[in-house]
């Protein structure tokens, strides 16, 4: 029996090798994708754990300041970039991609900045660059006073349509 099996295999091995050569890229490709998916899952779980630890460690509740950004009127302004300074020190700047602009136009909120500030009064300067409804390029700067109390402080910069829909306006709202 075993000799017969050996003969069968010996006769048919070229076909087997050929079949393996044809099929293997797909099989190995699929199993590689499956393994990559499994890795991506585990890395994503780790990332989420780390985000929680980061928030607790780097930004303790008593000094935490978070600045968010949203767009109230999708037609008023095409946001190109935004720069944020706190107490005249540059904090962060962001250049927007088309996908991000689209997400903001559909109501998404961006976590623009997360940092630590002592209690008291601070100056927040926001500069936005983009294209207004009349297709003119605009660079606008707004200054706000931020009062840091005990506990988390979360504020939201909202880009709104300005008067007569020409120049956009910035409003600062504090999350309650």
């Amino acid at each position: 029996m075993s000799e017969r099996c050996f003969k069968v295999v010996k006769m048919r091995w070229p076909a087997l090798v050929f079949a393996l050569a044809v099929v293997s890229p797909h099989v190995f490709g699929d199993s590689l994708d499956h393994d990559i998916d499994a890795l991506a899952r585990d890395v994503s779980d780790l990332s989420q754990t780390l985000y929680g630890v980061e928030d607790a460690m780097l930004f303790p509740a008593d000094t935490r300041v978070a600045v968010y950004l949203s767009v109230a009127d999708r037609d008023s302004f095409v946001l190109d970039s935004v720069e944020l300074s706190i107490n005249d020190q540059p904090a962060i700047s962001h250049l927007y991609t088309d996908q991000e602009r689209q997400a903001l136009a559909q109501g998404a909120i961006q976590q623009l900045y997360m940092g630590n500030l002592p209690a008291g009064q601070h100056t927040l300067t926001a500069t936005l660059n983009g294209q207004a409804a009349n297709d003119h390029y605009v660079r606008q700067q707004h200054q706000f006073t931020l009062r840091k109390r005990a506990g988390e402080t979360r504020v939201q910069l909202v880009v709104e349509a300005g008067p007569q829909g020409q120049q956009p306006d910035f409003a600062l709202r504090e999350w309650q």
Binding site: P25, F28, G29, L32, D33, D35, I36, D37, A38, L39, A40, R41, D42, V43, S44, L46, S47, Q48, T49, L50, Y51, G52, V53, E54, A56, M57, L58, P60, A61, D62, T63, Y68, S70, T97, Q99, E100, Q102, A103, L104, Q106, G107, A108, I109, Q110, Q111, A119, R149, A150, G151, E152, T153, R154, E174, W175, Q176
Partner: protein, 573 residues
């Protein structure tokens, strides 16, 4: 900190006494501290609790997805339960390896037929088509069309038309396309339809009509780069069809509109030359082929243009120049074979991702010349040609994804190391500040009561009332600082530090494990990519070898012709 707080409290009664003496002529106004302690303690939690709401977290997750941060999006979403949250979660799962869970969630949302139903159904259609499962795509396409709006609806209609076309129902596909709005999706649908017509019809009229419609609709696309690329494809296709049906005037009308910075420019120039040659205008044909020769031989059409130059001289009667042109072509092809061999050696040595993909990027300062340099660089040309195959796109995408993941894991590993060191260095005395804080609270209560009493007696708007108000603010700040100190004391407690360290060490161990897995997976992905790339380059090398053979045959024919002509002339009396 304790001394400073006590000092401030000690100052308050002194300030109150001073104010009382200064206002001796008025009804006795001593400064009494408002009993704000209980009020502030009651209010503080409300001020401190600014955790994002479920709706805000969903909106934050949406931006994180647009910012290509699916893990961050999942962090924001948490266990949020709404149609929007479920849809965003499914999209994030797709990008983080949870395809089955994502599909189940999309099916639930699509079947519910409410918010995001159209988007979910469209995602299912695209996933099914990716997996070559047309039956599954057909199950969800009607939901996608009925529940979507705007550009999503146009995209869904395109897929419906495409499914009809694949099933051989070209008339039905045409009817679906005719109901679409102008723009990219409609144009793409008509382009695909034209490809079907050109395969089945002997007369290219139907295909050309479809291409003209596609060209008109592509002009309405709001994305100019995408519109330009699609228009170039349409024009090239129409030009080739016209050439094949020997309508050279029409062909020239299409081909001369293809932009020269396009990947399709060499091919368009070659066919442009063919169309001119078809009208016996070899001078114009050679001008077109001469421009095509400037492009790398990796581009389709460039090698044929080299041969075309020789043919053009031959047909024009300049046999000597024809021979020189063929010899120049032969030299170019031999040189290209050497370049290909060098590229293949680089791929074997450094891997395809490094030799072909990353090295094709420009690193020098003349980035503003990128557009004009891009198409003349052989490496970039071979990369673009290679990436035309879907299998190549997947293989490169795999390695690129693992490369990005590796850098992200390295960054996180670095951050975790810093956090652990910070925790180790963080030295809180560990002793409780409860006794000092209780002492402070007692003194604050007394001072607050005195302020309240004085405030009741002060008349509104008077200078004393203003001073009392300022003292009240000082008291608020003292209270806030007391809270901060209490929280820091709690944070610094050994229990909290230990818990954070434990979590970080778990994350660190997990990261090390994932990095090892990633190295092994990357090796496998790169091996696959290397094999695909070498197969492609060897195919290109064989094509160049064939073209070189043809060139040498042409040279042989030419010299044979010259020899026979010479013999004839020599034989005549």
């Amino acid at each position: 900190m304790t001394i400073r707080l006590s000092g401030l409290l000690a100052m308050a009664p002194a300030a109150m006494s001073q104010a009382a003496r200064a206002r001796a002529d008025r009804p006795a106004l001593a400064l009494f501290w408002v009993p704000v302690l209980m009020l502030v303690m009651a209010v503080l939690p409300a001020i401190a609790d600014t955790t994002p709401t479920a709706g805000q977290r969903e909106r934050l997750a949406r931006f994180a997805l647009a910012d290509q941060q699916p893990s961050r999006a999942l962090y924001w979403l948490g266990a949020a339960d709404s149609a929007g949250a479920d849809y965003s979660r499914a999209r994030a799962w797709l990008q983080t390896g949870r395809k089955n869970e994502a599909i189940k969630t999309f099916v639930t949302i699509a079947d519910a037929g409410k918010a995001y139903g159209g988007d979910a159904a469209l995602a299912l259609v695209k996933l099914a088509l990716d997996a070559d499962d047309e039956a599954a795509a057909r199950r969800h396409i009607d939901t996608a069309v009925n529940l979507s709006s705007g550009q999503r609806k146009q995209e869904a209609l395109f897929y419906r038309a495409d499914l009809q076309r694949r099933a051989g129902q070209t008339d039905q596909a045409g009817r679906t396309l005719s109901r679409m709005d102008g723009g990219y999706w409609a144009a793409l649908g008509y382009l695909n339809l034209a490809a079907d017509y050109s395969r089945t019809d002997r007369d290219p009229s139907r295909a050309l009509v479809s291409l003209r419609v596609a060209q008109a609709l592509a002009a309405e696309d709001t994305n100019p780069d995408r519109a330009r690329d699609l228009t170039n494809r349409i024009l090239l296709r129409a030009g080739v069809l016209s050439c094949q049906s020997e309508d050279y005037t029409k062909a020239l009308g299409f081909l001369e509109k293809v932009t020269l910075d396009s990947y399709l420019a060499p091919q368009a120039l070659y066919f442009d030359g063919l169309a001119h040659a078809g009208r016996d205008n070899y001078r114009a044909a050679m001008q077109a082929w001469h421009r095509a020769r400037k492009y790398s031989l990796a581009f389709p059409g460039a090698a044929d243009a080299w041969l075309g130059m020789g043919r053009g001289y031959d047909e024009s009667g300049y046999l000597g120049q024809a021979g020189e042109a063929y010899l120049a072509a032969s030299s170019a092809f031999e040189s290209e074979q050497v370049s290909l061999k060098t590229l293949m050696d680089n791929v074997r040595r450094d891997g395809a991702y490094s030799a072909l993909v990353t090295s094709a990027r420009q690193d020098d300062v003349e980035w503003f010349l990128a557009d004009s340099r891009t198409l003349t660089q052989p490496r970039m040309a071979y990369l673009l040609h290679f990436m035309e195959q879907p299998q190549a796109q997947k293989a490169v995408g795999r390695v690129a994804y693992l490369d990005t993941l590796a850098r992200s894991l390295d960054r996180r590993q670095h951050d975790v190391g810093i956090f652990l060191k910070t925790l180790a260095d963080f030295r809180q005395p560990g002793k409780s500040l409860d006794h000092e804080l209780s002492d402070f609270d007692r003194q604050l209560t007394v001072v607050s009561a005195r302020l309240q009493s004085l405030s009741d007696r002060a008349s509104s708007g008077s200078p004393a009332a203003a001073r009392l108000s300022r003292l009240r603010e000082t008291l608020d700040r003292l209270q806030a600082r007391r809270e901060t100190l209490a929280q820091k004391s709690q944070r610094g407690s050994p229990g909290t530090q230990h818990e954070l360290s434990r979590q970080l060490e778990t994350v660190q161990t997990g990261l090390v494990r994932q990095q090892k897995r990633l190295i092994a997976l990357r090796r496998r992905a790169e091996t696959q990519l290397d094999k695909l790339t070498l197969d492609f380059l060897q195919g290109q090398s064989r094509q160049i070898a064939d073209t070189l053979d043809r060139t040498e045959q042409q040279i042989a024919h030419l010299y044979e012709h010259l020899a026979l002509t010479g013999l004839k002339q020599g034989g005549q009396p």
